[in-house]
């Protein structure tokens, strides 16, 4: 099927709007895949949820494994949602003789399966990008990134060191991006393809018409970057194509109200408030089939969260606060860690409060939550706290604690990718390469 821009435009010119027969559109839009076609099973979504500066292992890690583990002091915040979450302790990032680059080695090890050889270097795409490449290309947004900190640079969704999917930090801007004028309500009674959108789509395709000419002018590395650019152009074309089709109904989709304009920033009260707003919008973006992949940053690695009136950030506290001799931990730094877990529990409840099919939206999600260190004071990358929420459409087990006992953290990433349907049998680099999924995670 070869529909040229010219033919489409003639179509638009020939008869605006309703007079365009649907079979014509169908044949034009057959590149969309079948994921959203009517009658398809509910999609399974993947996401990450990140917080910085870890925890205190002896107060966080549960003792017993399985479903009957006793909630530890630092896991207290997740108690109300423990049945939705699997706790993974003592899985290690193995540095393979490379230095421990503070606050980046652990994070990059978990998400790319390779310890970096330089600070903040991503030699491989992060797991969400791998999953989005497999399942995200047919939805309106390949993936959505948000940060509660308000800083668009706080994103750990990266194809490479310099290709970073930027985070949205403003709930209002995030709302507009998803539910603004370009949003098509999947449950709207009538549907008429918008000729303006059709025109935009065909005009946009001309941007890539001449791609060969520019690609042949540059070296291999730059060609890859320009290819990435054209992929982004294509993604927008697909968004527009989707707007020309009647979307399949999404029973759980309720268009949210536009949030009020408020402050953004890293004061924890502001961040926590924005996190909840962003979580609610994200939940509806998922329920309304706008994306299948998302990344949430609650705080950056080396958490720059602050508490009004305190002179040190969460990160600074982890290094400078004295261990309380009675408690034997750093009370102020730990307070931030607990607040982070509270936010995670909020996120989980927001997703599970949306009814979808015979269960909840969360049941059709797989959310990987993790930090950048275990004990932040020493930047420990052994036993970084990890949790998984959601049952991935019935593929994953929740409500249990699994102890890795020094096994490579890549086993978790491998299990996730397999659960999301990626055809891989091993993952990770060097000492972290594994072909052993965590079978206890699987239902």
């Amino acid at each position: 099927m070869n529909i040229t821009r010219r033919k489409v435009l003639r179509g638009v010119a020939g008869g605006i709007g309703a007079t365009i027969a649907l079979p014509f559109l169908d044949c034009m839009l057959d590149t969309n895949g079948t994921a959203l076609a009517s009658g398809a099973p509910l999609p399974v979504r993947f996401g990450t949820w990140f917080w910085g500066c870890g925890m205190n292992p002896e107060r966080w890690n549960p003792k017993a494994t399985g479903g009957a583990y006793e909630i530890t002091p630092e896991l207290k915040p997740i108690e109300p949602v423990r049945s939705q979450i699997t706790v993974l302790s003592k899985f290690d990032v193995l540095l393979d003789g490379k230095p421990n680059f503070v606050h980046t080695s652990g994070n990059i090890g978990i998400t790319t399966g390779q310890a970096p050889s330089q600070a903040d270097q991503y030699d491989l795409p992060t797991i969400d990008v791998l999953v989005a490449d497999a399942i995200g290309t047919t939805s309106r947004f390949r993936s959505l990134e948000v940060t509660a900190t308000g800083n668009p640079r706080h994103s750990y969704s990266r194809r490479s060191t310099s290709v970073v999917n930027p985070s949205e930090g403003s709930p209002v801007a995030f709302y507009t991006r998803i539910f603004g004028p370009d949003f098509k309500d999947p449950n709207a009674a009538d549907f008429k393809p918008d000729p303006g959108v059709m025109l935009r789509r065909s005009v946009l395709s001309s941007v890539s018409d001449d791609r060969a000419a520019i690609l042949k002018q540059v070296g291999a590395a730059d060609r890859a970057r320009l290819d990435e650019y054209f992929t982004s152009v294509r993604q927008l074309e697909q968004q527009l194509e989707l707007q020309l089709q009647k979307p399949p109904p999404a029973e759980a989709c309720v268009i949210p109200k536009k949030p009020a304009d408020g402050p953004v920033g890293q004061d924890i009260e502001v961040s926590a408030g924005n996190h909840k707003l962003l979580a609610e919008l994200l939940a509806m973006a998922l329920a309304c089939n706008q994306t299948k992949v998302f990344n949430v940053v609650f705080s950056d690695s080396a958490s720059s969260l602050t508490k009004a009136g305190t002179d040190k950030t969460h990160h600074t506290l982890t290094h400078e606060e004295l261990l309380d001799p009675q408690l034997n931990y750093q009370p102020q730094a730990t307070w931030f860690g607990m607040r982070s877990l509270e936010a995670w529990a909020t996120f989980v409840s927001v997703l599970s409060s949306v009814r979808e099919g015979s269960g909840t939206l969360l049941d059709n999600c797989l959310v990987l939550a993790h930090s950048d260190t275990s004990f932040a004071k020493t930047h420990d990358v052994l036993g970084i706290p990890i949790m998984i929420a959601g049952r991935a459409g019935g593929k994953m087990k929740t409500g249990i604690h699994i102890a890795g006992n020094g096994e490579s953290v890549t086993r978790i990433g491998l299990t996730i990718q397999q659960a999301m349907g990626l055809p891989i049998d091993k993952w990770g680099v060097g000492a972290m390469q594994t072909s052993k999924p965590v079978s206890d995670l699987l239902a």
């Binding site: 290709v163 002018q217 540059v218 650019y229 927008l236």
Partner: protein, 556 residues
């Protein structure tokens, strides 16, 4: 550390302005680096739109952050691409800009011809319009095929929408969305001055020059000079370089350079604890940057001063918002006033300004370590290694001696630890000398009731207070050569390597012989062969040349 040696030849100002190849030692060979593909930065994008379509065109949207590399965003552009989220924004900005450009009230000015009829296509008028803007946006004339494709978009869209201007609008939006606009793609051609090697073609040269000096795309006159082959002659290049340097727009270019060098993008997300620093607010943050840029612009451009004096000067500009933090009353309704701190005042040089003190500090306290690191990395181009992961805080946590009331006391604990000492020894003394400035740059004499001791030593030069630190930095030979390196890095988009050391030393010597004046350094750089050198084969790869670019061989 000191790459610079005494200049061999000192030449007077009068000589410099007429000497085209410069005086002093001959320019050594600069093997250059690979051809570059750099993504436009936000400020470049905004400048180009204002230059091409008028400053009344609003650019509404969000730009993807570029990852800073080698200390500069401008180096990070060489590696940056556009993600799907980023392109969504580019698309919406492009359509929005194009709609404004051809609005009924503006089209008489922006469309250089009258269409046959407003409700149908007109290829000739569309071609004229799209060629005009395409050349300015792509920084080179459109190829025949490119123009044909754009005109065809305009024609089809005009037919579909029943409006010539809507067609033009959609076609212009695609010009703003094409990689030829979004990326600065270096094109090369055989180097006439160095047979067997390649150099940037005239249009890429024009771009490199214009982005260096004005932080925007080449203007019509510079593109015309490129088309005529004038940039390939010494005389023609010098004519354009001197025109750009003499323009008031040099100010914007120099400001953009320092915004990048000083990492002022950090202010976009800088937050201070409002309970600890109630005086600090977004206005203070914005005006603090403006104060520093005004100081720089005045000293380096208006006064044609010595770059190193930036670290000692007591002359600056203040406004109402900054007055309280500097304890200087600024009368209302005066906007910015020139101000000179009295002799002996600790407020001397950039390091004593609010912008530096607040940017390199924590939200609720100062940070001698961040400040010391910034001085080493930003002003001396010395790399401070990352801290070890497993820091032993045993000393700092000795509860029998818990009172580390000043930063010096806390950091002494660091420095007595051998793993930390190596790096903290080179950062802390600098930062501790600035401890008289708190987390937002307000002056203080004590911290938690203990007097601040600001004495220390920088590479052998001892100082007792912040103003003497500024002097030590002024006198440090690495200060000037670091600026040379940074300007070259900024202009070429990449960090120099060993093969460029001799060439940079030559640039250092020229900078010294020209009394460390920035415009002179920019001129030397812009007129050098090395600035446009591209590494690579004597075997010229024709695939990388722009055969149809319209550049001619030099006539002069």
């Amino acid at each position: 550390m000191n790459r610079r040696s005494k200049p061999l030849v000192l030449c007077g100002v009068a000589v410099i302005t007429v000497a085209l190849a410069g005086c002093g030692p001959r320019e050594p060979d600069n093997p250059g680096g690979p051809a570059m593909v750099q993504r436009l930065t936000e400020s470049q994008y905004r400048n180009i739109i204002a230059d091409v379509f008028g400053s009344d065109i609003r650019v509404v949207g969000r730009f993807e952050p570029i990852v800073r590399k080698e200390g500069l965003i401008e180096v990070g552009t060489n590696g940056a691409t556009v993600t799907p989220a980023g392109f969504e924004q580019l698309d919406s900005m492009a359509r929005n800009i194009a709609a404004q450009v051809f609005e009924p009230g503006r089209r008489d000015r922006t469309v250089p011809c009258k269409p046959k009829a407003p409700n149908e296509p007109d290829d000739a008028c569309a071609a004229q319009t799209l060629a005009k803007y395409g050349r300015l946006l792509f920084r080179r004339p459109l190829t025949t095929a490119q123009l044909k494709a754009r005109v065809s978009v305009a024609r089809d869209a005009a037919t579909a929408s029943g409006s010539f201007y809507s067609g033009l609008q959609l076609a212009l939006a695609t010009e703003l969305e094409m990689p030829e606009f979004v990326f600065r793609v270096d094109m090369v051609e055989p180097d006439p001055n160095h047979p067997g090697k390649v150099t940037l073609d005239a249009f890429s040269k024009a771009s490199r020059l214009s982005f260096l000096l004005w932080n925007t795309a080449p203007d019509d006159e510079l593109l015309t000079a490129a088309e005529r082959g004038e940039l390939n002659t010494r005389r023609g290049l010098a004519r354009q370089v001197d025109r750009l340097l003499a323009s008031p727009r040099l100010d914007a270019g120099v400001r953009a350079f320092f915004v990048d060098m000083l990492a002022f993008d950090g202010f976009d997300t800088l937050a201070k604890d409002s309970k600890i620093y109630p005086e600090f607010n977004p206005t203070v943050a914005a005006d603090a940057q403006e104060q520093t840029l005004k100081t720089i612009s005045d000293l380096l451009l208006a006064q044609k001063g010595d770059y190193r004096d930036l670290f000692t000067t007591r002359k600056t500009f203040l406004d109402r918002a900054l007055g309280p933090i500097y304890y200087v009353p600024v009368p209302p309704k005066h906007g910015w006033i020139p101000y000179e701190f009295p002799k002996g005042d600790p407020r001397a040089g950039l390091l004593s300004q609010i912008s530096f003190a607040s940017l390199y500090a924590h939200p609720g306290q100062s940070s001698p370590t961040l400040r010391g690191k910034a001085v080493r990395e930003v002003f001396l181009c010395q790399k401070v290694p990352a801290p070890p992961a497993n820091v032993n805080f045993a000393v700092a946590q000795d509860t029998s001696n818990p009172e580390f009331r000043t930063a010096r006391a806390r950091l002494t604990a660091h420095r007595t630890n051998p793993t930390c000492a190596g790096c903290h020894r080179i950062m802390d003394p600098i930062g501790l000398a600035l401890e008289n400035f708190d987390g937002i740059g307000a002056y203080r004499t004590d911290e938690n009731g203990v007097p601040i001791d600001a004495s220390g030593e920088l590479d052998g030069a001892r100082f007792a207070n912040p103003q003497e630190l500024g002097r030590a930095l002024h006198d440090n030979p690495a200060t000037a050569s670091c600026l040379v390196d940074t300007v070259y890095k900024y202009g070429s988009g990449r960090a120099p390597d060993k093969s460029q050391r001799e060439w940079l030393r030559w640039l250092d010597e020229r900078f010294a012989s020209e009394s460390y004046r920035l415009p002179a350094l920019l001129r030397t750089l812009a007129l050098s062969d090395g600035f446009y050198a591209v590494s690579g084969s004597g075997g010229f790869d024709s695939a990388r040349s722009a055969a149809s670019s319209g550049s001619k061989s030099p006539e002069g």
